[in-house]
Symmetry: C2
Subunit: 301 residues, 2 copies
């Protein structure tokens, strides 16, 4: 296991570099008119981040025999959607956060109007990247449409936005585990699952492969959010790059808050085991997905 983790670290770093390079190339430059909005968009995209969603999409595509190169624009689109959701989530009317990834949040630096517009711009740019005629030429148009649909569904009001809406609507209220599960699986889990699912579709997955990888992605996404809550509860601000124990301060429902730390840890581990079980039919090409699942439990930021 140690050996795998060592490889994983290099793998993640290599992948992050290639995603970053692609993002730099494909997002409008800072001096593109109007510079105000493009500076704001790029600020948040390049404020750090593990690029987990793009890396999952690339790994899922490779697990079914696709190539990372062909799926790179889709991977980048997922990061743009993730970034837009953070910008809007941090707004004063939403979570009102001043710090993200160790840096002042978008609206703190550029003002609320520009932060709203930059978020809108990143979301729209994601779908532009997904449909540009000069990119992803090796993926059939039908598969591209399917992959985009998968992403749009996950990012929309029946997915991520639905989760965020309930997260805000229930703030300060005592909620029961099923509603917390809804919030977790939608706010964070939906886009993570869609990263795996859309990557698999674009990579050429058969229906059976796609279903298995969706099962993996769903468990992975859910456990990711539980670990996020645990880190918020136990973490140190320096390591996380954002304020900690904010969830509790805001009266947000969290897994540790409802079920306790030990039970939350157990639940996250169980989900990771389930995620891994979906990968059984896959050969060594799914190894990065296996290593990432184990990594979820060990991450510290």
């Amino acid at each position: 296991m140690k050996k795998i983790n060592f490889h994983l670290k290099e793998y993640l770093e290599r992948r992050k570099r290639s995603v970053d390079a692609a993002l730099r190339r494909w997002i409008p430059a800072e001096d593109e008119f109007p510079p105000q909005v493009h500076r704001t968009m790029r600020y948040s995209v390049f404020a750090g981040g593990k690029r987990l969603r793009p890396i999952l999409a690339l790994a899922a595509a490779e697990a079914v025999g696709g190539t990372a190169r062909d799926v790179l624009p889709l991977a980048c689109a997922l990061e743009l959607i993730h970034t837009y959701s953070l910008i809007h989530d941090d707004l004063p009317a939403m979570d009102n956060d001043d710090l993200r990834r160790g840096k002042p949040t978008s609206h703190k630096v550029f003002g609320e109007a520009m932060a709203i517009l930059a978020g809108d711009g990143l979301l729209t740019e994601a779908f532009h990247l997904l449909t540009r005629a000069d990119l992803m030429k090796n993926i059939s148009p039908l598969r591209r449409l399917q992959a985009i649909c998968r992403i749009a569904r996950a990012a929309g009001s029946l997915g991520m936005i639905g989760g965020q809406a309930m997260d805000i609507a229930t703030q300060g209220r005592k909620i029961k585990p099923p509603l917390l599960e809804y919030i977790h699986t939608h706010k964070t889990g939906a886009l993570i699952a869609a990263s795996v699912g859309a990557g698999a579709i674009a990579g050429g997955a058969s229906l059976r492969q796609w279903k298995a990888l969706e099962g993996y992605g769903e468990r992975l996404g859910w456990s990711f959010q539980i670990v996020d809550d645990l880190l918020d509860e136990r973490g140190e601000m320096k390591q996380l790059g954002k304020a900690v124990r904010k969830d509790r301060a805001k009266g947000k429902a969290t897994y540790p808050g409802i079920l306790g730390i030990a039970e939350s840890q157990r639940k996250a581990e169980e989900l990771v085991q389930e995620a891994l079980s979906f990968l059984r039919p896959f050969n060594g090409r799914a190894h990065p997905l296996r290593a990432i699942a184990n990594f979820i439990l060990e991450r510290t930021n």
Copy 2:
């Protein structure tokens, strides 16, 4: 001319009804979980509106031999994008408007957080509609991708969002005509032009037809915004359903403000004539597009 206008009125009403019925069918229902966000989304979509962008997309598709039925989801997607842009534009951090189409704006009714999320949800739902496997089956996947790309480009930071960003960034500043032209052609013109352009692509346009219709759409969109400014300057609040002379009160640059009313009127008329000239190669199927161009100059709301 009178005769055409009479027919146009019926045509617009019939089309509006079919777009409205499709929107009701395709946007998640009010009681879909979470109801908070779906109520907010539907409130703004069904708060009125002429459905100009969808109607233009349908008319452009028909002008090149396509059918309205096949392009209806694309037409609806354009209205969702338009509506999201209005919700975000009305936010306190942006234009801070309390009234839109004669009704309280989204954030006034549902609060800022839900208005931001509903806008995000509508934008995302647009791309979901554009890619759903059960819709637009008669349009080739490649044409669908091209049409979506055309829309994403127009709605993004190099299009509509860029125009909005400059509109806000220049508030209270004296600006020169070229920058005002940028704001007009991007804030409003880009999505109107894309409605025509994407409708044409989805309708099966040849490259030559598509270019002509893009020329039409570009002039139409620009003249539309000039007329909007003129209406704001002269209009009555009752007829417009929103506060008037707000542009001036906010120190916004407008065509009448920079060039005067007479010169603005002349410019709008000139653009409509140019728009019409692009339709010369088309037969009677482009008649609705011709009538709409004339209507732009006569509209009172």
